[in-house]
């Protein structure tokens, strides 16, 4: 073994500067884990609040949603305009913009923390949004801001820090460590960079362990036991892949092209627009009996357990509510609502296939729809495997995801987060 390497190792282990940087990075990752956990708890509370309001006075949502959305949009535009939307497009956009001033404007600590508060408010107003995009935004902001407190060695670029933060945020949000890493590689950077994977791994481990300490071991959707016969599988794969891919692609297209079409209207009348969106959200909620509010976690879990009671319209209502919530301009992600819409879509498809276990079809429906939305097959498979603690469905799930991604491409040619990232950059340019 070369002596040189030992000496280098020895030096790195003794250098106080190296330890300071290491501690700084680990500290950042720990705080990502803490914030992700706090966000998870706060979102649950917001969900309980909405359910309570919906049970006692369903019509109150007609007031609460518009008023709440109005307030959130006003606050966002007034203080941190970069905080609107999912957060993942922002992080992607900032990967390729080495301009420090703009990076700071989008990935400042203030933006991140503000967004974390706003997402909880949004959930409390019944918007159909998820917390993972905002968690990614906060996490990327924390991780990026670290570079202002210490000089990182050359191989840890700011780009690497943004990627590491995003991966850590997603991992800690759902207790899905591997999905965080794959997401950073497949969806965000769209390439495999050996240089940055070390930092990404480290961030995910520390943030994930922190969340584990705070929350304990769990699988997001609990243990799902789904089994499928080989002959059935082909039928279900094709059905879920095509239906999920088409609907997921339609969702992406509505979000991207709808956003572009309505862009000028929203710029001229942002508050009126938010009011109308709020009313629509409340109307959709009333039409579905209060099911479309919030992340949709409960509906997805029931669908995966094979006991879905949402009715055949729910997936479409959920899809519409998510599109409206996103277009309104409030901070909020699309992961969890998409998983919910997909799982219930599968559960409804299962009614047409009486011989196949409903939970298996729900799982594949979730995979198909989600792959259709994000168009990243590997991320889809890994995130669902880590969320459901289920191994035997791997092969059908992969096939469904591939098929859905292919189908979705015909409807929405550019992957949603990249299209949104481009739009975000355009908007930024317009604002400056």
């Amino acid at each position: 073994m070369p002596r040189r390497q030992w000496r280098r190792t020895y030096r790195q282990l003794r250098s106080p500067l190296a330890w300071r940087i290491r501690m700084l990075f680990w500290g950042g990752a720990v705080s990502i884990g803490v914030i992700a956990t706090m966000l998870a708890i706060a979102s649950d509370q917001a969900g309980i609040f909405v359910r309570h309001v919906n049970q006692t006075a369903p019509w109150a949502m007609l007031f609460l949603s518009p008023a709440g959305l109005l307030a959130i949009v006003w606050l966002t535009r007034r203080f941190f305009p970069a905080a609107e939307g999912s957060g993942i497009p922002q992080a992607i956009a900032m990967l390729d913009i080495p301009n420090p001033a703009r990076r700071k404007a989008v990935l400042g600590l203030g933006v991140g923390l503000f967004k974390a508060v706003m997402i909880v408010l949004g959930l409390a107003c019944g918007a159909s949004i998820g917390r993972e995009g905002p968690t990614v935004h906060v996490a990327a902001a924390i991780s990026y801001s670290l570079s202002r407190f210490g000089r990182f060695p050359g191989y840890v670029s700011q780009r690497g820090l943004i990627l590491a933060g995003s991966a850590a945020g997603l991992s800690a949000a759902f207790n899905t460590p591997l999905a965080g890493i794959v997401f950073a590689i497949e969806e965000m950077s769209r390439s495999f960079e050996a240089r940055t994977t070390g930092v990404v791994f480290m961030g995910v481990i520390v943030a994930g362990m922190t969340a584990l300490v705070l929350q304990g071991n769990y699988a997001y959707f609990g243990s799902v036991s789904a089994h499928i016969e080989t002959l059935d599988a082909v039928k279900v794969i094709v059905l879920c892949g095509i239906a999920g891919g088409v609907l997921g692609g339609a969702f992406s297209a509505m979000l991207v092209y709808g956003g572009r079409r309505l862009g000028s209207l929203r710029r001229r009348r942002p508050y009126l627009f938010a009011l109308v969106c709020g009313l629509l959200i409340a109307a959709l909620g009333l039409a579905s009996g209060g099911l479309t509010y919030g992340t949709g976690y409960e509906q997805a879990r029931q669908a995966l357990a094979g006991t879905s009671e949402t009715g055949p319209l729910y997936p479409f209502l959920k899809l519409a509510a998510t599109v409206v919530s996103y277009l309104s301009g409030i901070p909020g992600g699309i992961f969890a609502p998409s998983l919910s819409a997909g799982a219930t879509l599968g559960a409804e498809l299962a009614r047409w296939l009486p011989s196949t276990p409903a939970s298996a079809v729900a799982l594949l429906g979730m995979g198909g729809y989600f792959a259709g939305v994000v168009q990243s097959p590997v991320t889809t498979v890994v995130i669902i495997m880590e969320m459901t603690d289920e191994q035997s469905m791997l092969l059908p799930l992969m096939a469904t995801a591939l098929l859905a991604q292919w189908a979705s491409k015909h409807i929405c040619p550019v992957p949603i987060y990249h299209a949104l990232a481009t739009d975000f950059l355009d908007k930024e340019r317009g604002r400056n």
Partner: protein, 437 residues
Amino acid sequence: MPVRANLIRLTLLGAVTGLTAGVTVLGFRWLIESSQLLFLPDGRLGNYEGLPDWAIVALPVCGGLALGLVFERLPPSLQSVGIVHVIQQLRHTGRPNLPLGNAVVQFLAGAFAIVCGHSVDREGPGVHIGAATGTQVGVKSEDADTFTLTAGGAAAAIAAAFNTPLAGVIFVIEVLGVRYRVDRFIPIMTASIVGAVISRAAYGATPSFSLARELSMASLYELFFLVVLGVVTGLIAVAFITLTEQANRMTQAWRPTPAFMLAGLVTGLIGLVYPQILGISYDTLNDILNDHLTQNVLAGLVVGKLIATAVSIGLRLPGGLIGPSLVMGGALGGVLGVAVQQVSMPTGSESFYATIGMVAMMSAVLRAPLAALFALLEMTGEPNIILPGMTVVVSADLIARQILGRDSVFEHLRLLGTPPLAEATSKTMDKEQDHAS
């Protein structure tokens, strides 16, 4: 549109690649297993433990002699086999060229070496054979498409070996160095899925070895043990790579016959003490993962397997080193797992440590942390093993990287080159330099 039509065509060809690669790799496995059944006692696969002492030494030595005599009569270009060969062909620009002849040599010689008890695996040959079938399927396609199908064949081989379709895909990225692009990977993933389906149809959900249930951390203090396991794994991986490299370097000028015979002799002599190391040792790995072995045997297995495999691979036997690294890592994890049980606090089971050690060693030797973690997720189906697994895999990888740099063991072997291949290698290098300049 033509682009989309091409994608559909390529995806179908990917499925065909997965089918042919899967069937060929299963044929390779069947050849090994049916030959083993002919002479091994009790009709148990991999039961080299039951052979008498003289046979344990004589079998690999005579096998090496026969293999060497055949290899000396082969033209040099046909002697290039294994994952190194695949990497060589995928790295240079232009059309990947995996000749059918080399694949046939790999098929027969690989099976012969394993049956004779040499400490190598069937996955390395499998990757070569799978990739070669991919090239054959894409023989009429454009260069870029042939490249994709070749990679797909390699992915299908890994997927078929362990029933891990995702890990197969990631293996192609991390170890073979294929750039990730979503459209290119649709055919590769299809091939991988089909490969796994075929293997599952033939051998069930656990084609090579089965894991224990209930694999999870019992308390967070175990993080300390996990880091220790990672560091030791990293150091052992470094020792393994260095020894392999040294063995290769010292015997550059040797002819195949003495080289193969020496490798057989080393394996046989170690086999006198630890007969489990002969052959693929997946039966032993099965015992390790379900904690049926004592600490002393486990420790002996780590050292024995390390030396035997490093010498075998260093002396250019036509086999692979993925399986041996799994066995070494599993045994090492088992040693620590048994030791941890003495500590007076709730800890994970021995199988938990063995399982993680197994993939961590593979990760450190192949320098493929993501593929290792995907394999872990796919084989256990237990999401809560990922974080502890990641801790071990990353610390092992950091140690190996700190000492040896970023290159995998294949890269080290490829750069050393082997004299009979000088021609092929230099051509590759030239092209690479052209590409770089």
